[in-house]
């Protein structure tokens, strides 16, 4: 049997099984399905990466014709990244969903089934997206993915907000579909083929300007999925609304489909790479900086993490842009550093972001709030979750010795290499990107010191009503698994760069990989030594401290409060005050919507101060057009008056118009001919 048939059959069997089994077993059934599908696809993917390309022709129905299923190194890399996070997602999600099992009234039960079925479905759809190379089949799996992720997001559909966020997400992802449908139809009308290779042939046969427009068409559609600014507005709504493991999977792998799409199109479309590179790079820098700038002012943990996804997509995009510029200017160092950085950051982001979301889920289940201002002091109640969150936070800030540093380092070395170029524009864009990336790093640090510091450190800000304890072993296990790989990439990056060299080779050509790959492997070898050295150094210092302090007397006393005798937890710095000076700085760029009533009279009275940060770009690109569209559409409201007679009348008018239209055209041409004869 072929791979695709295998996976289709397994998926259908397990979907039926999940529907059939009892409440408690649904999660396990989904886990088994994901495990088997992941196993098969990973096996093929690993074989592809070690050098045996996979190809098969899947015989679809008469509509699709023959569907080529090709797995190259790029697909293989993305399949491996996706499988891991899907696996940890279901491992964690199975435990996370236990809470909803207990309170199972009639509506909840069907909900769980739908949830797990969608999970199996989306895994299948994503494998499909990575393998299928036929436009029609691609649209089908993409649509399946969009619908499954919508169903996953609206799990708690009783909440109005969740439903709203879900529909918002559904609409925006379909706007994306419109764009690449346009691209596919364009190509197939010119070449008559739905095969992806036709895109490559078509773009090679037209002028660079035309192929650039074709590229833009695909880029916009995939950028909506990935969440590049200004196409990001769905992201901060959908992520917080979904259950935590779904948020982790969405942020970790579903938005990466956009990245995959962009990379795939770069492989196919031949054109002016320099121009494409500039476009991607500039949009990415803006996405990165803008995403993290907004993230800092968020006080809902999951919303904050959602904005960070935009930032990280920006970093990945910077890598892609850099690599594309490298291709265009045939600078192989730049190309390798860019694409390798982008692909590695794709993996890295899927790791630490899913870990952060899973930790956020654990916090939510323990405290029933996601508002940072209501949390505090959790490190003593849930130490393991705290450490895992800290590891992920350090990794997302790109600090050594964790994985985020490695991919950012690759992108940095590309940027610094690219500065030394013959073209002034390239130098300027590179220094602009360096500025952007540094700013992203600094802002991320501000954001995550805030997040970790306020959630876990200090004292609880408001009393928790329930006893809080750390998550169970089964919930912690997938998180430790992720943390382990985060550490492994941070400490031994040279192993991973060898794997990445394969997909990068598709872009740069194999000869370059051999030389540049060697160079980067040895560079990362030194980095790895430096990282190990640092860990060793830190351990030595800690050990010296431990032995030096051991014999000294220790006193535990209250925190210094200027000598004030009755300290209260309300004295602590809040998240809002932590970012206050930052907020004042960026006020012109972001919308803050602050409401305050000041102190009045001689004696102190209660003061209210509320800040609602809002996305300025969303206001400009989404809200204002929608307002105008609504006003315009409002004029046609009278048509929809709820009167069946009218609707029948519209039908009759339509049929009449359809029949008379050709007749009218005939008449007009006849008259024109008449005039001509005159």
């Amino acid at each position: 049997m072929s791979l695709s048939l295998d996976i289709i059959v397994i998926t259908i069997i397990f979907i039926l099984l999940t529907v059939a089994v009892k409440e408690g077993w649904k999660g396990s059934s989904a886990l088994l399905a994901v495990l088997i599908n992941a196993g098969i696809s990973s096996y093929v993917a690993i074989k592809v990466i070690t050098g045996q390309p996979y190809q098969e022709l899947f015989h679809g129905s008469s509509v699709f014709g023959e569907v080529p299923v090709r797995i190259d190194a790029l697909s293989a890399w993305f399949i491996l990244v996706m499988n891991f996070t899907m696996l940890t997602g279901i491992l964690y999600g199975r435990q996370y969903m236990k809470q909803y099992e207990k309170q199972s009234d009639g509506s909840q039960r069907s909900n769980l089934t739908l949830h797990f079925v969608s999970y199996i479905g989306i895994h299948f759809a994503m494998i499909g997206i990575y393998c299928v190379q036929n436009s029609l089949a691609f649209l089908c799996v993409w649509e399946m993915m969009a619908i499954c992720s919508f169903l996953l997001v609206i799990f708690e559909h009783q909440k109005m907000e969740t439903l709203k966020a879900g529909i918002y997400y559904l609409v925006q992802s379909h706007i994306g579909i419109v764009f690449f449908m346009l691209g596919f139809i364009w190509v197939s009308s010119q070449t008559g083929s739905y095969d992806f290779n036709a895109i490559g042939q078509y773009s090679a046969s037209v002028t660079p300007a035309v192929s650039f427009i074709l590229f833009l068409c695909f880029f916009i559609s995939f950028a909506i999925k990935a969440g590049f600014v200004p196409f990001h507005t769905w992201l901060p709504y959908a992520h917080p609304a979904a259950p935590s493991h779904v948020s982790g999977v969405m942020s970790g792998v579903i938005i990466k489909l956009g990245i995959f799409g962009i990379l795939r199109m770069l492989l196919l479309i031949k054109g002016n790479y320099i121009l494409m590179g500039y476009t991607i790079l500039i949009i990415s820098v803006i996405s990165g900086v803008y995403g993290v700038m907004l993230a800092i002012v968020q006080h809902n943990v999951k919303r904050l993490l959602a904005y960070h996804s935009i930032e990280n997509i920006g970093i990945i995009g910077m890598g892609i842009g850099l690599g594309t510029i490298g291709l265009g200017s045939s600078n192989s160092y730049l190309a390798f550093a860019g694409f390798a950085g982008a692909l590695l950051h794709t993996l890295n982001h899927s790791l630490f972001k899913s870990l952060l979301f899973y930790c956020a889920g654990t916090i939510y289940q323990a405290t029933h709030t996601m508002d940072i201002e209501r949390l505090g002091g959790l490190i003593k109640k849930m130490p393991q979750t705290a450490i895992l969150f800290l590891i992920a936070a350090l990794a997302i800030c790109g600090l050594p010795p964790f994985n985020g540093f490695i991919s950012e380092f690759l992108i940095y070395s590309g940027l610094f290499n690219g500065i030394d170029s013959n073209h002034l524009t390239v130098s300027l864009i590179m220094i602009f990107s360096v500025f952007g990336l540094v700013l992203i790093g600094g802002l991320a640090m501000l954001c995550f010191t805030k997040a970790f510091g306020i959630i876990f450190l200090g004292k609880e800000r408001l009393p928790y009503h329930l006893p809080i304890h750390d998550a169970g072993v089964f919930q912690l296990f997938p998180k430790y698994l992720i943390a382990l790989i985060i550490m492994a990439i941070g400490v031994m990056p040279q192993l991973f760069i060898r794997v990445i060299a394969k997909p990068v080779g598709l872009f740069t050509g194999q000869t370059i990989i051999n030389s540049q790959g060697m160079e980067f492997t040895s560079l990362l070898q030194t980095v790895s030594m430096a990282v190990c050295g640092f860990i060793l150094l830190a351990l030595i210092v800690l050990w010296i401290r431990k032995t030096a302090v051991a014999s000294k007397n220790k006193v535990v006393a209250p925190t210094w409060g200027c000598g004030y005798g009755v300290p209260s937890s309300a004295f602590q710095y809040t998240a809002n005050s932590f970012v206050r000076s930052y907020r004042k700085l960026v006020k012109p760029i972001l919308m803050m919507n602050k409401k305050e009533n000041g102190m009045e009279g001689v004696f102190p009275n209660p003061v209210l101060s509320a800040t609602h940060p809002y996305d300025k770009l969303e206001a400009v690109f989404i809200d204002i057009p929608i307002k105008h569209l609504r006003a315009f559409m409002g004029r046609f409201k009278f048509l929809q008056n709820g009167n069946p007679q009218f609707y029948i009348l519209y039908g009759v008018i339509f049929i009449f118009a359809v029949i008379t239209f050709p007749l009218v055209i005939d008449a007009v041409t006849y008259v024109i001919e008449l005039f001509k004869q005159l």
Binding site: V434, G442, F534, R545, S577
Partner: protein
């Protein structure tokens, strides 16, 4: 010989703050302590017991050590003239900056760990200022990378020689930039006043209010090391092409002493900025570094 720069930086860290304090005392007409007094203070702290806040967790205990290790690690990258640092690879200054950031991350967390309102205040300011100062350093290194065509500390400084007038201007600007960056990173005068006694106006001092004993000693000594480290970077700008050790070591020490004197001078004659003017001042550094970048472009004839 790779270890030479490490040894020299540690040697100059022993007296650096001493000279700063001495300069200040001379300017204000006092006799002042000996130049090894700060070192003696650190030693005294090393032998003392400690008081821990009851609010704090293990983060508070490990943070000073990690901070210290990060500074030590950063020093390993600094070259000495033609001798590379202990660790040297392409793009090592990225590692340098990020490992320092890691130390800062932990010191910010440890300030938040005490649950004190002052700690949060200092942490918030430190996080903001360090994010604003970072771009200046990277653009400076980017300009040097463009000028020399290399991307590691050692190769950049080895290839950096001043010839034309523009290059002198660049060197001066770079030295100025590094002095100010060092002042900000060490929380010194125009931005922060280490001698202030009001918690509300502190930055670095307020973050370490609850640290004591060995931990406080580590933090204080790390400050000395950090100063000496920036001094060494500045010294690297001015080594002569000859590279004979009997020239370069005195140059190095001379520059360290001069740098310490300048720091003392700035601290004696400048008042601290108002807190809300600090971000603007720090961000101005980025424009100075862009000026350097422009100068490099001019030098290479990319823009006429």
């Amino acid at each position: 010989m790779r270890i030479l720069s490490l040894l020299l930086i540690i040697a100059s860290s022993l007296f650096f703050t001493g000279i700063v304090i001495r300069t200040k005392s001379i300017f204000s007409g006092r006799k002042g302590p000996g130049i090894f007094q700060p070192l003696k203070d650190v030693w005294r702290l090393f032998r003392k017991g400690a008081v821990y806040s009851e609010t704090s967790s293990f983060i508070f205990q490990i943070a000073p050590s990690i901070y210290f290790a990060s500074v030590l690690m950063a020093i390993l990258f600094i070259p000495f003239g033609e001798f590379p640092g202990v660790i040297s690879f392409n793009g090592d200054f990225v590692f340098f900056a990020y490992v320092l950031a890691l130390g800062k991350f932990f010191s910010i967390l440890s300030a938040l760990d005490t649950g004190s309102s002052f700690g949060g205040m200092g942490a918030s300011r430190e996080a903001l200022y360090s994010l604003l100062v970072e771009p200046a350093f990277f653009i400076l290194m980017g300009s040097f990378a463009l000028l020399t065509g290399h991307t590691s500390f050692h190769e950049i400084f080895n290839a950096l020689h001043f010839g034309s007038y523009i290059s002198y201007a660049i060197g001066t600007l770079a030295a100025f930039l590094l002095v100010i960056i060092a002042m900000i990173e060490n929380s010194r005068m125009p931005v922060d006043d280490p001698k202030t006694h009001l918690e509300l106006t502190m930055i670095h001092e307020v973050m370490i209010l609850d640290n004591s004993g060995f931990d406080l000693g580590l933090i204080l000594y790390a400050t000395n090391l950090k100063f000496a480290m920036y001094g060494a970077i500045i010294a690297n700008l001015f080594f002569t092409p000859g590279h004979e050790l009997y020239y370069s070591i005195p140059i190095f020490m001379g520059i360290q002493v001069l740098f310490a004197g300048v720091v003392g001078g700035i601290e004696s004659f400048m008042a601290r900025f108002r807190m809300n003017h600090n971000p603007q001042f720090i961000f101005t550094l980025t424009s100075i570094s862009l000026l350097i970048f422009l100068g490099v472009l001019l030098m290479l004839g990319k823009i006429i």
